[in-house]
Amino acid sequence: MPDSSPRRVRVTSPRTGAARVQRVPVAREIDAQTALGEVYMRSLLRSQLRLALLALATLVVVVGGIPLLFWLAPELSTVVVLAVPLPWLLLAFAVYPFLFAVGWLYVRAAERNERAFTDVLDRS
């Protein structure tokens, strides 16, 4: 670096007795049920509820759609896949791994939400 840059100057303030900004932990905001604490609680609740509804919607559309599908297209029940009738394949075997997968993704996401909430409270 060339020395064309200006010299550093120390800036000081005479107001040494200025009030410090009070840092209130979020946990205490929640305990005191202030408007701010309410915002934190509401955001946790909303993110968990949105996640739950997303998982339920997946369940309703995929598993709940099966009767409707076979009602609209009854000839599907005679389709045979791998020597097994299609309805049997779906309801006796395929549905269980699907349910577990939805549950597994839900647990991961719910724990992530809680970790985010804990981190916010610890950082403050």
């Binding site: 029940s77 020597a83 006796a92």
Partner: protein
């Protein structure tokens, strides 16, 4: 030795093993908390096996195969719904319910809504659902023992009741947890092992599809829609609603969540249960399918529920077949014992707290509650001639879905729920569901659409209960519990965070 001899030996072995495993748990059971919730220290792996063991009742072990044999693919909705019910439970109530810190459902209702009235009504409903579910277990035990060994029909029920009572009296929840975990694996083995032999035979016979042997032309065995005529779609969806939402309202299912160390563990346990149930439910439908090929006379005789017990002996000649049939009989007894144990603990917990709690204390009250919890449904089972295992269990699911499901879901996620709303919703939902099924059972239901609506009421009673609860709560805004916000903090925040969670119940 005769086939009946082997079965008798197998049942004796299950009873002795149950008492032995239970006795292992007795040593740890000292405090009231041990008896009610195993001191909340059960790890997810053990707890999930216990939940699986407790949940897979006679309806799952014998009933599913029988229903599939008789009616076909549509009956697969029951095992699917019973598993999916756990997913709904996981997503909506598992962690908050554990964090609520309550012992029983009435405890939860009281601490959330701060009202004695809600507590009393919930206690009443827990006992009603519990007895409704215990009665067919005792009846089923009597029928199974009579079918395989030729004893009197009363003996099986009395035997199951005695074993359950001994374990609950001496060990409470601690003891029961070990017993049930053991019984899940016993039930899985009892179905899986004979199936390996039977599927080998089936493959050797050319692997004929069960769907190809229609007994009548136009048979709808492979159709996944339940019922007949115009209401097939309605009936199927009503079964789905009852099973998906009813699981969370069963008292013996809910009480298990309080045995987890914390909310996150409750979630992982439930996920584990999903896997165990999915594994188990792969098996009974295969018995139903094979039964259609190798034991079609059971359909004509209406004795389809014994297909699991009889099929191994029919497909495999000689001693091997008899031994494998004895194994499935042992599994069936494990099913009766484990479900009855769980229900007894749940009902005894409620009876001891809400009826006897004031006169007797702690463990004594729990033990007295257990005696009442077992003797009443045993008496009912001996007096009333079989309503049918699957039918009584179906009634319990529809009833639970119409009462406790709205209470739990709205209580956990909606802070404006009031005690008046909860009581009104449970009365309307429970009244309609109970009335509808009573009308069907007594044969008073009309034909056509009204009959279909009464036979499977969940699709309209559950939304009705939810609507009533919300409407009455909105109409009584001044009755919103004073500490609702604090309770929400307790239900939803992770335990690691230091927060004021209000007063824990008890």
């Amino acid at each position: 030795m005769s086939a009946a001899g082997y079965s008798l030996l197998a049942v004796t072995a299950v009873v002795v093993a149950t008492l032995a495993v239970g006795a292992y748990g007795w040593r740890f059971s000292r405090t009231t908390s041990d008896f009610f919730v195993a001191s909340r220290t059960v790890r997810p792996g053990l707890n999930a096996s216990a939940i699986g063991g407790e949940y897979l009742s006679a309806a799952s072990f014998l009933g599913v195969a029988g229903l599939v044999l008789a009616f076909g693919t549509e009956m697969l909705w029951y095992p699917v719904g019973w598993t999916a019910g756990y997913l709904v439970l996981l997503v909506l109530v598992a962690a908050p319910l554990r964090r609520s810190g309550a012992y029983t459902l009435p405890d939860f209702a009281e601490s959330r809504l701060e009202s004695r009235g809600v507590r009393r009504l919930s206690a009443l409903l827990v006992v009603a659902i519990g007895w409704l579910y215990l009665m067919p277990q005792f009846q089923g035990a009597g029928l199974a023992l009579a079918a395989t060994t030729g004893t009197g029909a009363w003996l099986g029920g009395a035997l199951v009741a005695t074993v359950v009572l001994v374990n609950v009296l001496f060990g409470g929840m601690r003891s029961i947890t070990f017993v049930q975990a053991f019984q899940y694996w016993l039930k899985l083995t009892a179905l899986l092992f004979p199936l390996l032999f039977m599927v080998t035979i089936w493959l050797g016979d050319g692997a004929v599809s069960p769907a190809s042997t229609g007994t009548t032309p136009g048979d709808s065995w492979e159709s996944p829609l339940a019922g007949a005529g115009d209401h097939r779609l309605y009936t199927t969806y009503s079964i789905i609603v009852a099973t998906f939402l009813g699981t969370m309202g069963l008292p013996h299912v809910v009480v298990r969540f309080y045995t987890n160390p914390d909310g996150a563990a409750a979630r992982r346990t439930t996920l584990f249960v999903l896997a165990l149930l999915g594994l188990f439910y792969l098996l009974p439908p295969v018995y139903g399918g094979l039964g259609r090929l190798y034991a079609p006379d059971l359909i004509a005789s209406g004795n389809t529920e014994s297909v699991v017990l009889e099929l191994p002996a029919r497909m495999l000649a000689g001693t091997l077949g008899d031994l494998l049939s004895a194994l499935t009989t042992a599994g069936a007894f494990a099913a009766f014992l484990s479900t009855s144990s769980g229900l007894t603990v749940a009902v005894a917990g409620v009876i001891s707290q809400d009826v006897l709690g004031r006169r007797l204390g702690g463990v004594r009250a729990f033990q007295a509650g257990a005696v009442v919890a077992v003797l009443v449904p045993l008496g009912l089972a001996l007096l009333a001639e079989g309503v049918g295992v699957a039918q009584a269990v179906g009634l319990a699911f529809a009833f639970a879905a119409s009462t406790f499901c709205p209470l739990l879901v709205l209580g956990i996620w909606w802070r404006r729920l009031t005690d008046a709303g909860a009581i009104a919703g449970m009365l309307v939902g429970g009244g309609c569901a109970g009335g509808a099924v009573l009308a069907t059972l007594l044969g008073a239901a009309p034909a056509g659409w009204p009959g279909a609506l009464l036979a499977q009421p969940a699709a309209w009673t559950v939304p009705l209960a939810f609507l009533t609860m919300v409407a009455v709560s909105l109409a009584t805004p001044r009755r919103v519990p004073r500490h609702a916000a604090r309770t929400m903090v307790r239900l939803h925040t992770p335990e690691a965070v230091q927060l004021d969670r209000g007063v824990l119940p008890r």
